[in-house]
């Protein structure tokens, strides 16, 4: 099968959907003439023209809300945030408008739109450019939140997100855009809300999503050398969450470790831990452990970045503790 970059997978998803449906447009900072701050939308202006690939001023609140209004009136916007750090100046429109409109209007105005862009840290970028808000958005009823970890998932999930009739937050990573992976030429879609069992195993279930899946996979490889068999689950979607797949896995492994690049308090891992203990209490042989970022903003120095992020060593330690090795 051919191998393409994560950014190309996203571009293909958007372009294919835009060819199918003339009411889809892409709007954001530097998406058109600059071909995307991270080159995700490269060439799309040439193909679709300035009516559908639209550069904006640095006005996230404005164009975020313009997207919602356009969605209320028959269009299917894709709004790109240069990074989700900047979505904070638009978050009122995401939470108070996009997420609420369908219910407030008694089912008259659904919001078929996608807000997408990179999330979380991307090297030594300091406190304001390194944040993961997956759990913030996932906390909000009315939104769906998708966080792919590889090019194949990115394409299939983004196509589904664009076709979805509800607002979808689609979170990527600067550090994944160059990643290559196998993506079929033929069309395919992946279901939003379905987790993916990346690797079957019997001793422990490791759950993760997005870029930090790599840390889970690296840890599992090391653990295999010690004879510990890890079942690895990629959530793919953090709202809704596929609890059924998690519970089935825990029935088999009786142990769970969650890896997440986010602050610990009220994170996705907090939520998973609650539901799994509630639905799977009888199957658990050890407390659920999680590896998150440290409970601090990220500092610039390399020593601070290293201390902050989840890494394979921390995951290995957690797995060993729940498997009593």
């Amino acid at each position: 099968m051919r191998s393409i970059q994560f950014r190309e997978a996203l571009r293909e998803a958007m372009s294919e959907e835009m060819r199918r449906d003339p009411n889809i447009f892409l709007m954001g900072e530097e998406v058109a003439e600059y071909n995307g701050a991270y080159k995700v939308s490269q060439g799309m202006l040439d193909e679709f023209g300035p009516k559908r690939i639209i550069d904006t001023p640095i006005s996230e609140l404005g164009f975020g809300g313009i997207g919602v209004g356009a969605a209320m009136n028959g269009l299917r916007p894709i709004i790109e945030f240069m990074t989700f750090n900047f979505s904070l100046v638009a978050i009122d429109q995401v939470i108070n408008s996009a997420a609420k409109m369908y219910q407030m209007s008694g089912g008259q105005f659904n919001i078929p739109m996608v807000f997408r862009g990179p999330t979380a840290s991307a090297g030594q970028l300091g406190a304001q450019h390194s944040q993961a808000f997956e759990n913030w958005y996932a906390n909000t009823p009315g939104l769906k939140v998708v966080v792919p970890s590889n090019p194949y998932d990115a394409k299939g999930l983004l196509k589904s997100a664009i076709r979805d009739n509800d607002p979808v937050i689609f979170m990527e990573s600067e550090q994944m855009y160059g990643d290559k992976g196998e993506v079929p030429e033929e069309e395919y879609l992946l279901d939003i809300g379905k987790a993916h069992i990346v690797q079957e195993g019997s001793d422990v279930t490791i759950v993760s999503f997005g870029k930090i899946m790599k840390v889970a996979l690296a840890a599992a490889q090391e653990l295999a050398k010690d004879g510990i068999s890890c079942e690895i689950i990629d959530l793919r979607t953090v709202r809704p969450i596929d609890y059924a797949t998690l519970i089935e896995s825990v029935k088999k492994t009786n142990r769970m470790v969650i890896v997440e690049e986010a602050w610990p308090l009220a994170s996705i891992s907090s939520e998973l831990t609650y539901m799994v203990q509630k639905l799977g209490f009888d199957y658990l042989d050890a407390p659920i452990r999680r590896i998150t970022t440290r409970d601090t903003p990220l500092g610039y120095a390399p020593t601070l970045v290293e201390e902050f992020l989840p890494n394979p060593a921390r995951v290995i330690e957690a797995v060993k503790s729940v498997t009593y090795r």
């Binding site: 001023p57 406190a127 304001q128 020593t303």
Partner: protein, 331 residues
């Protein structure tokens, strides 16, 4: 005419300050290439007259705040080259103790209120700093910088209205360098004379030549004067140009070589040099000596940074809360 207003000392100070910014940042570019400096790094090269003209027009007790393109402002405010370079290296001896990096230089001691990374985020902060000066009854002012891209944030409109309503002692300055990343001002607005944004709030507003220290000084001086007299804010659109890309990773293909050259012909350092030489305030040799001394300081700052330690891993927790025994969640 106006030029006679400024004496030899002022010109020499402008020369030295701008030369320091220029040489310091040329060194930064080199070091970025060598991966000694990481993350996002935005150079101020070309815009130096704005900071130089400001510094001669305000007092050391006035407060300065800007966005992430902050090396020039930090140097202008008097933070040492050692502390700034060490910050760019991420060392604990840096002015933000290695927490901030290029975008987040800070110095309470030098009244530099930072380097802010979210476009437009510093606009209300600049007004808030002025609010405190007014509240405390000082004669100090706040100088709040932003880029031409930042004026498109809602924060500007909300802040301008309140700053005018309450007559806050703040000088808002948009450093209009023509581009926000790859997007020219032309492509994002019908109102290309950005100073007119202030007029909607009846804020005294003006356009200023940002390649001229004299023009910048005069505009800021009279704005500061008004602010100190309790007459409220001013909005200055200072027209300038960045010679380099938006950040170290931007090849700047969206503009022509000719355009860049056109501005380089108006280079503020060259203008000041010419003025000094023509007035015979210094010889070529004197100016070379100043430059040499600057190069020494810059090189020393690199050595200082190389020899400084990184923050310890545990320092990640050191400045999250002022409370000393805050109970962090530990895994």
């Amino acid at each position: 005419m106006a030029k006679q207003k400024f004496n030899k000392e002022t010109y020499l100070r402008w020369f030295e300050q701008m030369m320091l910014m220029r040489r310091f940042e040329e060194k930064c570019a080199q070091l970025y290439g060598q991966q000694k400096i990481k993350g996002f790094c935005h150079l101020y090269i070309g815009q130096e007259a704005v900071v130089a003209g400001m510094m001669s027009a305000i007092t050391p007790d006035d407060k300065v705040i800007t966005a992430y393109r902050d090396h020039g402002h930090a140097l202008g405010c008097g933070i040492s080259t050692n502390e700034i370079m060490a910050e760019l290296f991420g060392k604990v001896t840096g002015c933000s103790k290695g927490n901030g990096g290029s975008m987040h230089l800070f110095s309470k001691e030098h009244n530099f209120y930072g380097g802010h990374g979210i476009v437009g985020g510093q606009i209300p902060l600049g007004a808030g700093i002025a609010f405190a000066e007014q509240y405390l009854g000082t004669k100090n002012i706040s100088v709040c910088f932003m880029g031409d891209g930042a004026v498109r944030q809602g924060s500007l409109n909300e802040t301008f209205n309140m700053a005018m309503l309450w007559k806050l002692p703040v000088v808002f300055i948009v450093e209009n360098n023509g581009y926000a990343m790859g997007t020219s001002v032309q492509r994002t607005t019908n109102l290309q004379d950005l100073y007119k944004l202030g007029l909607a709030y009846d804020m005294p507003s003006a356009q200023v030549n940002g390649m001229s220290c004299e023009a910048v000084h005069e505009a800021i001086e009279s704005a500061a004067d008004r602010a100190r007299k309790g007459e409220g804010p001013t909005f200055l659109e200072i027209r300038t140009y960045r010679y380099r890309g938006h950040s170290m990773s931007d090849p700047a293909k969206y503009r022509s070589k000719e355009e860049v050259e056109e501005y380089k012909h108006k280079d503020p350092i060259e203008q000041v040099r010419k003025e000094i030489l023509s007035k015979k305030w210094a010889t070529e040799k004197d100016l070379d000596a100043i430059e040499d001394e600057i190069m020494n300081r810059v090189n020393e700052s690199v050595e200082f940074s190389e020899n400084s330690p990184y923050p310890a891993a545990q320092d990640l927790y050191a400045h999250v809360y002022h409370q000393e025994d805050y109970p962090f969640i530990i895994e």
